[in-house]
Symmetry: C2
DNA sequence: TTATAAATAAAAACCTTTTTCATTTACGGA
DNA sequence: TCCGTAAATGAAAAAGGTTTTTATTTATAA
């Protein structure tokens, strides 16, 4: 696992401030997805002044840079996760304890039963949604 | 397509108020996903008094009853769609024009390229996420 | 060491969604 | 058809999460 966060930030053209480095450290250690508020709580133990907007801004920048991943939760709030796997993969998220399991396989029905059998988890729902730009809208957009 | 919305509401144990019927009519005609605000705009043309909270409440009730579907949009706002297909399926959503295409197939990589080829759309991202309750959390939860 | 652009704190604003509560309405049973 | 009751609604306010603004501080390249 890469822990040279100074380098990571440089590559994103972000200044390596103590707070950014701390956010990366905190994120990298979590086996669960976290809200900006969660990160803020931890940051307040390390810094005597740290604003919630700073946490929001930094998490957003890190996600834009691909260092962390936004998590889609049915509650529609903002969550982030530091993925260990760098290749294409999907997630099982426990909406109770927020733990994430990074999945290696990618089919669906099969995936679900196989996954439940292997892990003892109960799948409540899944989201498969393709986001894009339709033919009509392609004139002038991505 | 079933248009007996009075019956639909009865089956959900909801009173068939003019406003509920109107919301169903509006939703059923839309080939796009809509926000509560969108629905409210249309409702205001039909009723001289109609509150936004009423629209929120009714959309939520209809979604709980499975008549309409909540749409997961990367912008994390609330959207709904009246699905024509009643069996298991997924969606392609255009985040520009909000049009939805209901998909018949369910694999992923293959699905994407096939879909782009057939429709001329450009896929920007996809979400595959399995939501559930992990082994640890199953003690006392669903 | 200094200049400069970027990052931050603090406060306020924003916007969507939900709650509260008094009033009105739908509708099953007289 | 009329009533009684639970459900639905409007209006206003509150809640809650997220973003913007602005003055100040900081990282870093020259």
């Amino acid at each position: 696992m890469d822990t040279n966060y100074f380098q990571t930030l440089k590559e994103l053209n972000l200044k390596a401030t103590p707070k950014r480095l701390a956010i990366l450290e905190i994120m990298a250690l979590k086996p669960v997805y976290v809200s900006p508020e969660d990160v803020w709580q931890e940051m307040r133990m390390r810094f005597k002044t740290i604003g919630l907007p700073t946490v929001y801004r930094n998490l957003d920048e890190l996600a834009s840079g691909g260092v962390i991943t936004k998590i889609i939760n049915p509650d529609r709030q903002l969550y982030y996760f530091f993925c260990q796997k760098k290749h294409h993969h999907h997630h099982f998220i426990c909406v109770f304890c927020h733990r994430i399991e990074e999945l290696d396989f990618c089919a669906i029905r099969e995936m679900e039963t196989e996954f439940e059998r292997k892990t003892g988890s109960k799948i409540l729902s899944h989201i498969i949604q393709i986001n894009g730009c339709c033919k009509k809208c392609r004139k002038g957009n991505p």
